[in-house]
């Protein structure tokens, strides 16, 4: 698609951005900006950061935004680029736009309603809420990872986790079923091994208080009730580093300023990251991410 033929998509993109900013401002959220070049990227099992001189480009704004949460910024949001090495496909760009927000004093449960409210507001702005067969204004269907896997893959990944099997079954058996849903789908309560930076459920420590939203079988957003315990956070980073080492991936130094901010006290909060380009793909009815950005990396 040429730049000329993308014009309508890019006009819509700008309108959606404006609408989203208005939505958050109306809810009392503060728009913030955090560094693109970081001294250490947030360490995760399968996310590789793009080097930038003696820094890295951020793979997510998470750790800096959480430092702001620790400093008392109760409701913050950010829209900006994130970078991930080697991620390129019809739904992936190595440089893409993330909408990320944090809300102090709530759990991830509150973010389900809020995210649905956001989708509704965006859809209604176009006088239509059904995009590609999915009604953005409809109440979401909420499933636990356990029930989906038991029903569609015949096993329970909670308690007896198998990372490889989990990824394959999610992609081959679970996601194709989610693609049939005509409303937003929330998949929640991931196995502890896929907690990332989410808190465990106090009543069930084998399960992380984390959910993912899918629209038409495509992952749109990832939310946590945030882990606030600095000692556990350090232990998780160290475990993650060990795993990365075992797979021959680069290990990043621990983000000490973040860990120390957390140690001084991080309030209970929930946070979420939403892929803006994916949302625009749905609104525009395209299955190619290249169609929603002016310049897609080759």
């Amino acid at each position: 698609m040429s730049l000329q033929t993308k014009k309508n998509a890019l006009i819509l993109r700008a309108k959606v951005m404006a609408r989203i900013r208005a939505f958050f401002v109306e809810q009392g959220f503060l728009e913030v900006e955090t560094p693109l070049r970081v001294q250490t990227p947030a360490m995760e099992d399968h996310i590789d950061a793009e080097p930038s001189g003696d820094h890295w480009l951020r793979s997510s704004p998470e750790l800096h935004m959480k430092r702001m949460v620790c400093a008392g910024y109760e409701k913050i949001f950010q829209i900006g680029p994130c970078f991930r090495q080697g991620e390129r496909g019809a739904r992936h760009l190595p440089e893409y736009t993330m909408l990320e927000w944090y809300w102090t004093g709530v759990t991830s449960e509150a973010l389900i309603g809020q995210t649905c409210g956001l989708l509704r507001a965006v859809g209604q702005g176009f006088g239509n809420t059904v995009f590609g067969g999915v009604d953005l204004a409809a109440a979401p269907k909420v499933y636990t990872v356990r029930e989906l896997f038991q029903r569609l893959a015949g096993w329970d990944p909670v308690g007896a986790f198998d990372a490889d099997r989990f990824d394959f079954d999610l992609v081959e058996k679970v996601e194709p079923e989610l693609a049939k849903e005509k409303v937003p789908v929330v998949v929640k309560d991931f196995p502890a091994e896929r907690a990332a930076l989410a808190r465990m459920r106090p009543e069930d420590p084998g399960v992380a208080d984390r959910w993912e939203m899918y629209l038409g079988g495509v992952e749109l957003a990832n939310a946590y009730t945030e882990l606030t315990d600095a000692a556990e956070q350090r232990a998780r980073f160290e475990l993650c580093a060990e795993g990365r080492k075992g797979r021959g991936q680069e290990i990043y130094p621990l983000d000490e300023p973040f860990l120390s901010a957390m140690a001084q006290g991080m309030p209970e909060c929930a946070g979420i990251a939403l892929g803006m380009d994916r949302l625009l793909m749905r609104l525009l009815g395209t299955d190619r991410i290249d169609d929603v950005v002016a310049f897609a990396s080759p």
Binding site: D45, H46, A163, D164, L170, V171, E172, E219
Partner: protein
């Protein structure tokens, strides 16, 4: 061997000794999980579909495929004989491989034959072939509408749909990819 970074639509790969062509390809990364490469493919010999998902560390078989420029010579029972344009070597291609192309083959027609482990498995014809109409209802004089069609047979009995103005003895152009009429060849 191929690595997952080589995977793309149209790539020909080998699985369990069979050649496949990738018809659909999707890079996926389930939330917080590993990068996976979902492929839909078609067996080049049997046409059977297959779905496979690869991890980024996996290696994928590269088939021993070779495409040769050949000319069609003559039919031989259940086979069709082609001649290599450079070596003049003759090769017999099975009717299963030729399929409906058998209706479009013309002596000395330049074709491309795909070999897998030296066995011919696929055939490519020129996009257009010219054939004489052997049988059809008489055409309505002056009716040049191209959207109303009638059945017609070419010299070897293959049936196509042609516009009303086409008559027996007319030369028509057929698209070999779809097997459909494209236009009338004007005689000079």
């Amino acid at each position: 061997m191929y690595s997952t970074s080589d995977l793309r639509k149209g790539l020909k790969i080998e699985i369990d000794g069979q050649p496949y062509v990738i018809t659909d390809f999707q890079f996926v990364k389930p939330g917080k999980g590993q990068a996976l490469y979902r492929c839909k493919m078609k067996n080049i010999m049997t046409g059977t579909g297959l779905e496979r998902t690869y991890r980024s560390t996996e290696k994928i078989g590269k088939p021993d495929l070779m495409q040769k420029d050949m000319s069609y010579s003559y039919p031989d029972g259940e086979h069709f004989v082609f001649m290599d344009d450079t070596t003049y070597e003759q090769v017999t291609v099975d009717v299963d491989v030729v399929g409906d192309f058998k209706y479009f083959l013309i002596e000395e027609m330049p074709c491309k034959v795909l070999f897998f482990n030296d066995i011919p498995i696929d055939l490519e014809l020129p996009i257009f072939v010219e054939k004489l109409i052997a049988e059809t209802e008489p055409g309505a004089r002056g009716d040049t509408a191209t959207n109303v069609m009638k059945p017609a047979k070419i010299d070897n009995g293959y049936e196509i749909q042609v516009p009303l103005f086409i008559n027996e003895g007319d030369l028509v152009r057929i698209d070999t990819r779809t097997g459909e009429y494209t236009d009338r060849v004007t005689k000079k």
